[in-house]
């Protein structure tokens, strides 16, 4: 028997009710779709994390944007190279405990694990670049209109075949 994931197992109280309500608002009529053109073992894979990850050598996400306007967050994105490792990255998301990812980046951005699968031949290659953005916003327009096209441009330049979006 296939086990069904409980979406709300780790939520309580008001947050649980809000998420259930949001899930009930219905889905868009048209879902974008691109068939996978080749086996994963031949694909270039990139990762996209909503944990608000930024290299310590890069600008952190501006958390004051959300502190000033709690309906919004920094709509920019950051690039993490395939060599990024735990300890080199700030975790900027304001809605999760950052300690897990600070202890092991792979909890929310499995760059090293993807590199392992490349080494074993289970994926074609790990992309040169991976990406992160701030996952909470109730005003997604700037993220969608500015950051997403920027990420897509990078993905096309690096000839990425598929992106794994890792939510937190």
């Amino acid at each position: 028997m296939v086990r069904t994931v409980d979406s709300y197992r780790f939520l309580e109280g008001v947050t649980r009710r809000v998420m259930k309500h949001w899930a009930s608002l219905g889905r868009p009529p048209d879902i974008p779709w691109a068939p996978l053109a080749k086996p994963v073992a031949q694909c270039a894979i990139s990762l996209l994390s909503s944990a608000g990850l930024a290299l310590k050598t890069d600008l952190p996400f501006d958390r004051d944007i959300e502190r000033r306007d709690p309906w919004f967050s920094d709509p920019s994105y950051r690039v993490l190279p395939r060599t990024a490792s735990t300890g080199e990255v700030h975790v900027c998301h304001l809605h999760i405990n950052p300690a897990f990812a600070e202890q092991d980046l792979n909890c929310v951005m499995p760059i090293e694990r993807l590199n392992d699968l490349e080494a074993s031949g289970e994926v074609g290659r790990s992309a040169l670049s991976h990406y992160s953005y701030m996952g909470y916003t109730v005003r997604p327009e700037a993220l969608l209109q500015q950051s997403v096209p920027g990420i897509v441009h990078h993905l096309r330049e690096e000839k990425v075949d598929a992106v794994v979006l890792v939510p937190v």
Partner: protein, 101 residues
Amino acid sequence: MMPELTASVGVPRIAAIEHPFGLTLGPPGDVARQLEVLRYTLRALEVISQAGDVVHLPFEWKSRDKLSMYPPEPPPIARYLRRHPWHIPKFLSRTPPQISE
């Protein structure tokens, strides 16, 4: 994490996992779990053939420890809604108030 919520925004393929927030791939240092989760996710990428379909990954989070998934401080929106409870309906409908409200 929350496949029902993810599906509601029209994601093409979903690999659903019942892990706590901030631990999507598994516990810190648990390389075996992280690898298996990523493997199963990539397998879902290959087997899902219809937009919007969900594969439920077979991983159980067995620990009953009260994990501290919560951030060090309450998120700004939580503090805001406590001070402005009349905006809760706007939050539920995802329609932010105008700046002057």
